[in-house]
């Protein structure tokens, strides 16, 4: 087990390196120059050049990359070109927002997906099943930016029930914090719930055909008890997988959701860094996000291995 974990972590290194190379080259090939963002309409060619030199952007790209790799290897993500703030501290201040948003979205999605998935599998190909499948498909097909506008229009502008945007830290006010997160969490949770409920249904139907379930049935245990006790427990394994694999999609959704609802999280950090050509912030936060996804995949593997002893660690 330990060697398995170590090997999986080591196998992340080349992946992380590729991510780094791609991120760095993508971002530095983008037209535009952060000096223009900083100097704005006051940018004269001389001023831009001076600032470029000051920021170290006149060195050849491979040299910049080598310097950057060396820095990252030592755990230093650099500082923002715009205001000199450390990239790591920027990420750390943003992380709680995104983390809370993502965790709540996963919880809410499971609260929707598990009952609907079970009901659908319990009575496959009936109207209950069709309805829950349709809801799942609808959830996955709704454009999240459209849903966000729709919800804001109805619940914030129309009914004045919920705030349309903004963020209150948990430490400041718990109800205030939750009220601000209702709409963003719904927007993020819905597609996730749709996918999860689909997978749960499929797995449950398959599991229900397995021998030990037949045995349980034959023993005269009530159908519901069979589903809950034997079926669901086994079907949860793939659900864990799906949730883990959805972390990447979730982060993509976070970008849009945070933009629409003005939440000061990682998504906004990335989008603004793209706008400002703040290379270190962009490099650092994309790398960080990719790292989170890789980590999530690793966790999925481990949980999977733990839940399903048939998998061997080699």
């Amino acid at each position: 087990m330990v060697t398995f974990i170590v090997r999986r972590i080591l196998s992340l290194l080349p992946v992380a390196f590729i991510v780094l190379v791609v991120t760095f080259s993508l971002i530095h090939l983008t037209p535009g120059n952060p000096a223009y963002t900083i100097l704005g309409d006051q940018a004269s060619p001389q001023a831009v050049h001076l600032l470029d030199v000051k920021m170290g952007l006149t060195r050849p790209l491979p040299q910049q990359f080598a310097a950057y790799i060396g820095q990252v290897a030592r755990g230093n993500l650099g500082v923002s070109l715009l205001d000199g703030q450390s990239v790591l501290s920027l990420i750390i201040t943003r992380l709680p927002v995104t983390l809370e948003l993502a965790v709540l979205a996963v919880i809410v999605s499971l609260l929707i997906a598990i009952p609907t998935g079970i009901f659908a599998a319990y009575r496959p190909n009936t109207w209950v099943d069709n309805l829950s499948r349709l809801l799942a498909l609808v959830g996955a097909a709704i454009p999240n930016f459209w849903l966000a506008l729709l919800l804001v229009y109805i619940f914030a502008v129309g009914l004045h029930w919920l705030p349309s945007l903004g963020w209150v830290p948990l430490t400041q006010s718990v109800p205030g914090n939750l009220v601000h997160l209702v709409l963003p969490v719904i927007v993020l949770a819905l597609p996730l719930a749709a996918v999860t409920s689909r997978v749960l249904r499929g797995e449950l139907i398959e599991v229900m055909h397995l021998l030990y379930i037949q045995v349980a049935r034959a023993k005269g245990i009530s159908e519901w008890a069979v589903v809950m006790h034997h079926g669901v427990r086994n079907a949860l394994v793939p659900v864990v997988t799906v949730v883990g694999l959805q972390v990447g999609a979730l982060l993509g959704g976070v970008v849009i959701t945070e933009t629409i609802f003005s939440l000061p999280g990682m998504g906004q950090l990335v989008v603004n860094a793209i706008f400002d050509r703040d290379y270190p912030v962009l490099d650092g936060s994309v790398l960080f996000m990719a790292f989170v996804v890789l980590l999530a995949n690793l966790c999925v593997d481990l949980v999977y291995a733990w839940l399903d002893p048939r998998i061997r660690y080699n």
Binding site: V15, P31, V138, L294
Partner: protein, 291 residues
């Protein structure tokens, strides 16, 4: 079932029978049929847009801007006085074309890569899979955003940006299919009979992988349409004034309080199109891969 077949001819026969049975089963699948109807509806709309659309999608009438839905303009007019319905009808073209194109690129590049990776294994597989892992580890939308930013706003750039994150998905699925097929008896048999690796791959392996790939492709057209709409919503779609659902939604969002129809209807169109492809794909999966 399939594992017991010894020669490709027999498989073809079963496949043909299986397909006709599958077709019959498909018509009983209500959601799948609903998806098919929606998809066909959008395709017809895109093909015959000039005949269906009541107005030109580009004609502006400043004095007719912001008109609510009426008998003349069923879905109202937008911020430049253009007919929203006509723009949605024409917008089906770019949405469908980009969705299909993205999946075509994804399949066209991803499947061969997955085949090679799965069949040869070893260091080739290692290298390809590390790259695929890396590509899948990026938040897809962020990667697409970055690519679209570098290339500048245009539909074809958005297509490449999203295709770039679709390719690894198909590579991974194909590889998985190859790995499971490689160990099967009929492939072993073909190898013993001296068939060349490419012949084995194309004839035996790919044929069996075709079903899951078809299902994933159909589902992916829907998500590709959604992804293009997201990029257009962020201003990275085709340049204005081309009618495009995501861009219409974004441009109208500044008037959400006063003229909600400008952004709500294009959103509905995106939703229906994505729903169509995903229910169709879902139906196909139920029929072809009854799991």
């Amino acid at each position: 079932m399939v594992e017991q077949q010894m020669s490709s001819e027999v498989i073809v026969v079963t496949d043909a029978q299986g397909h006709s049975r599958a077709l019959r089963r498909f018509w009983k699948n209500k959601l799948g049929v609903m998806g098919l109807i929606i998809v066909v509806g959008f395709v017809l709309m895109a093909l015959f847009a000039p005949g269906i659309a009541p107005f030109s999608p580009l004609a502006t009438h400043f004095s007719h801007a912001f008109q609510p839905p009426s008998a003349r303009h069923w879905l109202g007019t937008d911020e430049l006085g253009r007919d929203v319905l006509s723009r949605i009808i024409y917008g089906a073209r770019s949405s469908l074309v980009s969705g299909i194109l993205i999946v075509a690129i994804g399949v066209g590049i991803g499947v061969p890569v997955g085949l090679v990776s799965g069949y040869y294994g070893g260091w080739i597989d290692d290298v390809i899979m590390r790259v695929v892992d890396a590509a899948l580890a990026f938040p897809a939308l962020v990667l697409a955003l970055a690519i679209a930013w570098i290339l500048g706003p245009s539909l074809i750039h958005a297509v490449w940006a999203i295709a770039a994150v679709t390719i690894p998905q198909f590579a991974r699925i194909t590889r998985g299919q190859v790995l499971s097929a490689r160990t099967r008896e009929y492939v072993e048999a073909a190898r013993c009979l001296g068939a060349s690796p490419w012949r084995i791959m194309l004839h035996h392996v790919l044929r069996n992988a075709a079903t899951p790939i078809l299902v994933v492709a159909t589902l992916n057209i829907g998500s590709a349409i959604l992804a293009v709409a997201s990029l257009s919503f962020l201003g990275l779609g085709p340049p204005p004034p081309a009618p495009n659902w995501g861009a219409m939604l974004q441009d109208g969002s500044q008037y959400l309080n006063m003229a909600p129809w400008i952004s709500l209807f294009p959103g509905l169109a995106i939703f229906l199109a994505v729903l169509g492809f995903s229910t169709l794909g879902d139906g196909l999966r139920d029929v072809l891969d009854p799991k």
